[in-house]
Subunit: 415 residues, 2 copies
Amino acid sequence: MNTKAEILATGDEIRSGALVDSNSAWIAERLEETGLFVTRHSCVGDDLQELTRVIEEISLRSSLAVVSGGLGPTSDDLTAQAAALAKQTEIVLFPEALAAVESFFQKMNRPMPPSNKKQAMLPRGSSVIDNPVGTAPGFALEINSCLFFFLPGVPREMKEMCRDSVLPRIERIQGPGQQINRIRTITTFGLSESQAAEELKDFDSRFKEIKLGYRTLFPEIQVKLYITGSDQQHLENLEQEAVEWLVHKLGRNIVSAEGKSLPEHTARLLVRRKATLALAESCTGGLLAHCLTSLAGSSEYFLLSAVTYSNQAKQKMLNVSPKTLAAYGAVSEETALEMARGVKEAAGSDYSLSTTGIAGPGGATPGKPVGTVCFGLATPSALTARTLCFNFADRKMNQKIFAFAGLDLLRRQFL
Amino acid sequence: MNTKAEILATGDEIRSGALVDSNSAWIAERLEETGLFVTRHSCVGDDLQELTRVIEEISLRSSLAVVSGGLGPTSDDLTAQAAALAKQTEIVLFPEALAAVESFFQKMNRPMPPSNKKQAMLPRGSSVIDNPVGTAPGFALEINSCLFFFLPGVPREMKEMCRDSVLPRIERIQGPGQQINRIRTITTFGLSESQAAEELKDFDSRFKEIKLGYRTLFPEIQVKLYITGSDQQHLENLEQEAVEWLVHKLGRNIVSAEGKSLPEHTARLLVRRKATLALAESCTGGLLAHCLTSLAGSSEYFLLSAVTYSNQAKQKMLNVSPKTLAAYGAVSEETALEMARGVKEAAGSDYSLSTTGIAGPGGATPGKPVGTVCFGLATPSALTARTLCFNFADRKMNQKIFAFAGLDLLRRQFL
């Protein structure tokens, strides 16, 4: 039996439902990867009594716990106090924690508000966990026979601290010879979850030692392999075999067998070929450019996106002919082709991609319902157009599927 | 004190972190709207002992609970059995539940697999909750002095059954004259959470009946007022008074006293003035355009964003002079001004905003560290530039704060 671990999320936003708790799922996956067995998640609000009670309960039930939230500078941040009460000790000033908070403000060139001093008041007996990206230091503390890790609720801070400090410490405690849990992620695009499950229905009988899971990160579907055992080499071979089987079954719908996203993978393909890209976006409104430029290193291949909403902008920026717009409309393959050609010429890029469509809720015309999108794609040697129609009722979902479908057209040029 | 309620999510996918539990937040919000006070959420996996134990614990702690998950036909669906164990009774066949499952399959024109009969086996003493959209009937059951509602984990089924059956039943129990819970959200930009808390430190002594909370939706900070009482008119007056006090204290840092986001609010200001906007984005890489165009109705005011990453694109699309680029560099107020002027002319817009900066991780030059951003802002009557420097280590955070800081410059034109 593996060591039992629990997860606690704190805060009135989560308790009252104003905020969905995504921290706990992330923490659970990380803990299980180290070979721990997560038995329970709990969430309580900013209430000292409730918080103390649940910490006590966990301390008597499990060997390890990760707590997120309630380490901020305000009066409703009560986690350190509750931990001290549960351990029947007091909170005291930790000079190294105070120095860390102060140096954070110094780095930001801002004076430290007096209220932030509270963040360095931790239960006696704690060991401080460094926060490289925020003001709230975390702390580790043994209460009864349970080792608690207290981390901030801000996902980015919590994740960095988990990766940098908590997980390495857990791995040291767990030691070698433990159960190994491997999770392999394969990114797919173009199949629904049930279509993917249908394609892979023989998996379970073929790979009895692997559990198959699906996770929708709209519009991508991640296929996940959960592999558990004790022989590292055997698990690696098994994983390799299973991945090959998946690649065979899902074919071109596999974006990345290493779990990279479609934008990441497409960017990598362009960089590897030293090719440059320009975009002409109408219905995607800058989302395509944003998906690519939010990744570091995008200036290596990304030259320009002309987000041309108005017809005037399409004409002036992309040299789309007013006749084409009048004869075929802005949402047409003809316009998409001229947009792609126009932006390629303006940017002097090797490739270009254009989008023009109807994300909704308004804008539908007879024969062109909400969800219609036309793409233009220019490669060094060819210019092609493609029309697709999606059925999502939601503007943001339409924009996202339009952007990803466009990237997928581009990706398939390189297969 | 309001009646205490709890929420329990079950299932190995949530326990292990493969799936983020969004049901519990939804249920919490609905329960609090009825005047109940949600004290705790819990989650356990498909383990009969754990499940029974947590149901017992809740039954001794709270008056009402909503449980989701574990009502399916497979062997790891154990909720009914655990509820029976917690109540020290047995599961028996409920003919009306069986009839409902059978009629569901009939409606779908599919034969009922024998395994689905299990879904009609419920703890003795339950009352069946109809499931209009799936096979799993729910059930209500009193255990100790707690009334439990057991619902399926599929969000669509859970929500329909909550709305149709559970919430009306709770409202009947709660009766009239119940506690009212109001939540008011005020959006701020430009202060950190601790700066906002410092400005508002007198709030608690001034408005004793209101609980103040903060929520960081980076880079915005939402200030939240949690107002509880029984006299609707009194609460409304109190809320109004508190909002006026906040507006006085936080001044121009308040984006929207109705909780609108900075992009939403800025869009509304433009539409109200029938003004049009064009953008020239370098470091924000399309994110500014995306923030605005992801909102419905953006074509009313949004004409164009030229996402010009390369110098060539800045020259060709925006008419930025090569001399300016050579003399001052791409990240300079001089370039930002020419970008703003260029895109305003190209689009024929009333306003324009440009961004050029260094989001990192690469790209820093002496005197221009990562986090530096220059804005150009053109109004119908003036052209101004502004340089800001932020200290986030993260590319995505820099892009986001650059985009929002730019929008905030535009918003303040209308104050």
